[in-house]
């Protein structure tokens, strides 16, 4: 009788001990970020487009000397994140020489945070030199404009319509000195 009682007690405890199987907290279904379309014009030759990445600066990047430091400190968010294949390697759509592509820059898998980004651009590396970056297009106040427009990233919301026009023959000026 005692053995039965002991075994029942032990079994009860083991059932209790195994009730933590549920995973608990997890990422919400809707990450934070923004999305839109990038429209391209006047593509150069393929060897002049080595990398394309979207960059989001919380501030206007007027000093080139500090950009590397800001990148290192993750003050600047980059999509796809540095170290991962760039937009040209997108397997879901053909990017090189396309008229337009869709993109979604979210907090999942990047350092994008909730807040205001005052300079959002498509960064272009035209040469083999790893630090030769320039803006190909900027999210601006209107078509054909180079004045950057702010993007407000809201918690668990995809801010749509953040479209970027890219004219490789007439890129926006480098914001930094």
């Amino acid at each position: 009788m005692n053995r039965v009682r002991n075994a029942a007690t032990l079994l009860t405890l083991l059932v209790i001990f195994s009730t933590g199987c549920d995973k608990g907290l997890g990422p919400p279904d809707e990450p934070s970020g923004f999305s839109g379309v990038i429209r391209f014009k006047h593509w150069p030759s393929a060897d002049s487009v080595r990398e394309l990445r979207i960059v989001a600066f919380p501030f206007y990047p007027s000093d080139s000397a500090s950009i590397l430091l800001d990148l290192a400190q993750r003050l600047v968010s980059v999509y796809p994140q540095i170290g991962q294949p760039n937009l040209l390697s997108d397997t879901t759509q053909r990017v090189l020489f396309a008229d337009s592509i869709r993109y979604s820059f979210s907090s999942a898998g990047t350092t994008l945070d909730v807040g205001v980004y005052n300079y959002v651009a498509l960064a272009w590396r035209p040469t083999a030199f790893l630090f030769d970056w320039r803006p190909a297009g900027v999210y601006s106040t209107g078509p054909g404009q180079f004045d950057p427009a702010p993007v407000r990233v809201l918690l668990h919301k995809d801010v749509t319509g953040i479209n970027i026009d890219v004219d490789f023959s007439n890129p926006p000026p480098k914001p930094w000195r």
Partner: protein
Amino acid sequence: MAMRLQSIFLILAVSARCAFASGGSIAGRVTGKGDSEPLVGVTVLLQGTVRGTITNTKGEYRIAAVSPGKCTLIFSMVGYRRETRADVIVEEGKEATLNVAMTQTPVLSEQIVVTASRREQSLQEVPVSISVLEASELQMRNAQTIDDALRYVPGVNITGGQVNIRGSSGYSRGAGSRVLLLLDGVPFITGDTGELVFESIPVGQIERIEVVKGASSALYGSNALGGVINIITKEIPTTPETDIRSYAGLYNKPSFGSWAWSDKNRYYNGESISHAYKSGDLGVALFFSRQFDDGYRQNDYHRRYNVYVKTKEDFAGSNSLTMNFGLLYQYGGQYVYWRNLDQALIPPVLQQTDDVRSIRYYVNALYNGILSDKALFTAKVLWYHNDWGYETINAIGMTKSLSDEIAVEATTTLILNRMNTMTAGFDANFDMVNADLFGQHSGGGLAAYAQDEYKITRELNFTAGVRFDFQSVAITKPSGQLNPKAALSYTPLAGTTLRTSFGRGFRIPAVAEAFISAEVSNLQVIPNNDLQPERSYSYELGLSQAIGGLGTVDVAGFRSDFDNLIEVGLAEGSGSLPYVQWRNVTKARVQGFEASFRFGLFDGGLGCNVGYTYTHPEDLVTHEVLKYRPRHLFYANLTGRAGMFTAGADFRFVSRVDNIDSIFVNLGIIPDGDQREDIIVTDVRAGADLSFTGIPLSATVNVNNLFQRNYVELIGNIMPPRTYVLVLEAKF
């Protein structure tokens, strides 16, 4: 300063040596019944006196300077039935021999505690709720710091490293504590932030931890609103002992790909070495440890070094002088909260490079003098120095804080007659703070207290005490506090004890709470010169009942009323932005009940502890539930041993807290900060004694958070995923 104090103690010690070296002595050996193995750590008390000792590694004991005549000895130890030997005859100048064999009863504890009345008492005799954590429990869980182990004490939960006993505390953002931490009976709280820095005390040198539940300011003064945690350090063994311990742990990968932030495995590891020996009357223990942790979250790493030295000089007549020195040096990242739930293991950008470095050390001296068979005198001095600061420019700027606390106390325990035992004493403390965030402040306090334990009948004990504190430390206006206590315990039958108690508690605000001045996330944090002490009244009614040979049950109902409770919150500025400030905001009441069971299964082959605590913590002004107080706590653990193998499991359920400091969520400072769930965690372990190899080695494997539950104790802070730890320990 320390040298001068040491000299005073030595003079006291020498005078005691001269005065009390007469009488006879009793010596003997304590073994287990049946196997004749020596029992180490058995408490041996001379009934009706203040004299006592514990057995050494050979199971031997000796009590000197015993008055000639007939006396009674009481032998007690956890897991063994108490043994009493009456009519032991002691003659002048002679040594009586008394050997005792004790019977193992795994489910019945005969625990000796010292915190309830500042003197040694059997756990069954104390009229308040006390839980005890033994060194073996800390070791088997491979606890890195004390708060790791406190998570498994019934009625206790931890939020962001701060201790909450039966709903007394919520979370105060690192400033102030409603639980008093004692190190060998002396308050051990930082002078600036009023925190409990558990890392300062090396776990490997702890004999046991006593947790008193309920207000205890009548004996211990400020901070003892919700309870007291007393860390008792190990005694120095009579034979040389060396202990080498090493552990290596691995954090499991995050549950979700989007939470992954590092391609590398995240490890933690550490080593400690200690050696203790005794030469004549002088015992010395040395300890060093190193703990490295990569952290499972970004910028959450730490490197920690502890040094600890203890010396104990025994004098004639069971008098002794103990000196302790402890040093903690650590540096690491500062992870305050997550970026959001998408990136739960990464801090916000501005916290990604925060580093904190700290050096904390303490020196304390404890003198134990037996004035006569009926009078015990203890004196204690502690100097606790804290130096910490941010190494980098961060969200609150470059900061550095220096603080020193000096505490002195003297206590006398007098057995007045067969019915009355009186404990009385005084203490004083002095604090100095020089901090970028809190400014320069100094102050101090004086207190005197007295308590009488009155044995009304053999079954009925009444305890009453009072303490007066005068403090001028953090608050601008000096204040006095009178804190009474009263308690009754009734033991109508062997194994049955009814208890009831009342106590008052208070807490002087920490310097950090009153004087902090900073800007965090564009919010001004401003000082509050009008901050007043908070107070509490605690009541408890409890029953402890042994159930045959099955085990023991303890049930208790409790209630605490708080006045002037200090909370951090937003306040409206005059026409400007709101600001953050610590304020006396509310009256509150916490009431509930607790039930704990200790029992054995399969004839004691498996030991089991189960504890459940229900609390209803209510703000009496807003009628909301107090912040960061879970309503339900449930703990269970199983421990088994078979030959050279041991195994165990811990289960912990902490219900989702109803209320948090939501201003940090509403203002967007901690995105997704309101995301929280029940805490349901299971840890398992298995070990083996490998001494059959000829090497005195043991190995344990722990798997913590076995089911990889993702949960927060504090908003915006995911707790560790599943971890695997291998521990190797050699003792010789």
